[in-house]
């Protein structure tokens, strides 16, 4: 690990000015960035500490009925916030399914979006990796690929994006607000993370000099019918093999609109709008969710150690859909019910 310069910013403008430069990093919680630095995977020249920007530490109601989550609000504060618990319990569930209490107390909402993959080869500096060292190759394709993608991968990279929180943000159609040297802009959540393609070193569409300032949640929160079902090798503090966030609204017992997003299966939270449209007007039954699963998993392809995830994802979509009928059956630490 290398030494670095350090500066504190007390406003967004100050941070953006100080952050200009290829090896300059904004640091908030630091739970992933400092880990990457300790493993010699990133080599920051300057850390710009943004924790002093008070205006990014609030959760506020928006005039349209939505909610604005400040980028510097911690994951735990967000998960336990009364407005989030009441109106966006799906988001609360996904946050509490990730990491540990200690990490969630430091990790911020903005940082959660920017965490890097936990691909074993990416994390091993002695190993080739197209994401870490473009052009060096991808040992995961023919190596240990249990955690890896079954959808949307390329021959350059089969890594998965590890966030749980972002699976809910994808389902909720959140909007990411960012500020850079050229001003502020909004990025639809579906456009924020990107597939690896020929440029697996790029995880997302955030500009190098841009700072995330907030995440806006639209009014629709699916508080009545939602579920986050995360399957992993141990029941806590593990990344998802497959996870499914489900939310829908019922009218006269039929699905009026639905959202389904998957984690652990691709380089991005995976969402297929055709599957959600398919569910409209249907009863919330195993058969309906199985039909949606077919559309979501169309084109899925497994590797030596992760082909099981295709069938696992199919069953998880169905189970999550059924569990969403009664969200009270979900408890942190509890095995999946039904």
């Amino acid at each position: 690990m290398n030494n670095f310069h350090y500066t504190k910013a007390s406003s967004v403008d100050e941070a953006v000015l100080a952050g200009k430069g290829a090896e300059n990093y904004f640091i908030a919680g630091g739970t992933n960035l400092l880990d990457l630095w300790k493993y010699d995977l990133t080599h920051p020249q300057k850390m710009v500490d943004v924790n002093g920007i008070e205006e990014l530490k609030t959760i506020t109601e928006l005039p349209n009925g939505g909610l604005r989550l400040g980028a510097l609000v911690t994951n735990n504060t967000t998960a336990y916030h009364p407005l989030v618990e009441a109106r966006y319990p799906l988001l609360s569930r996904t946050i509490l399914a990730g990491a540990t209490a200690q990490i969630r107390n430091s990790a911020t909402n903005g940082g959660n979006l920017l965490q890097r993959t936990r691909c074993y080869y990416f994390y091993d500096p002695a190993s080739p990796c197209n994401k870490r060292n473009p052009g060096s190759g991808c040992p995961a394709v023919e190596g240990q690929n249990r955690l890896h993608a079954i959808l949307g991968f390329s021959d350059k990279c089969i890594a998965t994006f590890p966030s749980d929180m972002c699976v809910a943000l994808a389902a909720l159609e959140a909007v990411v607000r960012v500020t850079g040297p050229n001003g502020s802009r909004e990025i639809a959540f579906a456009d924020f993370h990107r597939l690896p393609g020929d440029r697996p070193e790029l995880d997302n569409t955030l500009g190098q000099d841009e700072l995330i300032t907030a995440i806006d949640l639209p009014p629709r929160g699916y508080a009545e019918h939602h579920n986050y079902l995360k399957l992993r090798d141990r029941n806590s503090y593990a990344f998802a093999l497959v996870s499914v966030a489900t939310g829908y609204e019922l009218e006269a017992g039929m699905i009026a609109n639905a959202r389904i997003a998957l984690g652990g299966v691709a380089h991005i939270p995976w969402r297929v709008e055709a599957a959600e449209t398919y569910l409209e007007g249907k009863a919330p039954t195993e058969a309906s969710f199985a039909g949606a699963a077919d559309l979501i998993l169309a084109g899925a392809q497994g590797f030596e150690h992760n082909a099981f995830k295709i069938e696992l994802a199919r069953r998880t979509i169905v189970r999550s859909g059924m569990m969403a009928l009664d969200p009270s059956c979900q408890r942190p630490g509890a095995p999946p019910s039904l």
Binding site: G30, K38, A99, A101, Q102, N105, S236, P332, G333, A334
Partner: protein
């Protein structure tokens, strides 16, 4: 180490276990190393140094965090409680007493992190059931296998059987 930037150190003011503490540290020094090396508070342990084991858990401004994944300079102005601040021989914290009573450790290396983590969880009011407490304590590993007794000790204090 490459290019050490001048000036190499920064001033950091903390309150640690109720007392003011002034540090001069390089920006890349973790809060964990600052506590152990600069302040000689070696009750906080370095296990993995990567946020996987929880041995370095301390309470910062009322919340349990991993001191290994935090730079000391990021916590300027913060109030830190370590195991030394929770209790001392003859004046133990109820959770420390409960760890003794429930035989909640073997080698003891994870214990200070477990106790700081458990105290902050109880004070935050989180963990309504044993199942939830187990989930909320998953950031603290015990490789001796005392986990069941650790949860017993925490539940005893939560339920008010220790005061």
């Amino acid at each position: 180490m490459q290019n050490i930037p001048p000036p190499a150190t920064r001033s950091v003011s903390l309150r640690v276990n109720g007392k003011p503490a002034q540090l001069e540290v390089a920006p890349w020094v973790s809060l964990l190393d600052a506590l152990r090396h600069d302040l000689d508070l070696t009750g906080t342990k370095k296990g993995c140094d990567h946020g996987q084991c929880g041995a370095c858990t301390v309470i910062c401004d009322g919340e349990r965090i991993l001191s290994c994944l935090t730079l000391a300079v990021m916590k300027d102005g913060s109030e830190i409680t370590t195991i030394e601040g929770l209790g001392q021989p003859g004046n133990l914290h109820p959770l420390q007493e409960a760890f003794l009573e429930h035989d909640a450790y073997q080698c003891g290396y994870c214990t200070s992190g477990q106790i700081c983590s458990g105290v902050a969880m109880i004070e935050a009011g989180h963990g309504k059931t044993r199942e939830e407490v187990k989930d909320l304590m998953s950031g603290n590993l015990c490789r001796c296998g005392a986990n069941t007794n650790i949860i017993d000790a925490i539940m005893a204090v939560k339920d008010g059987n220790h005061e």
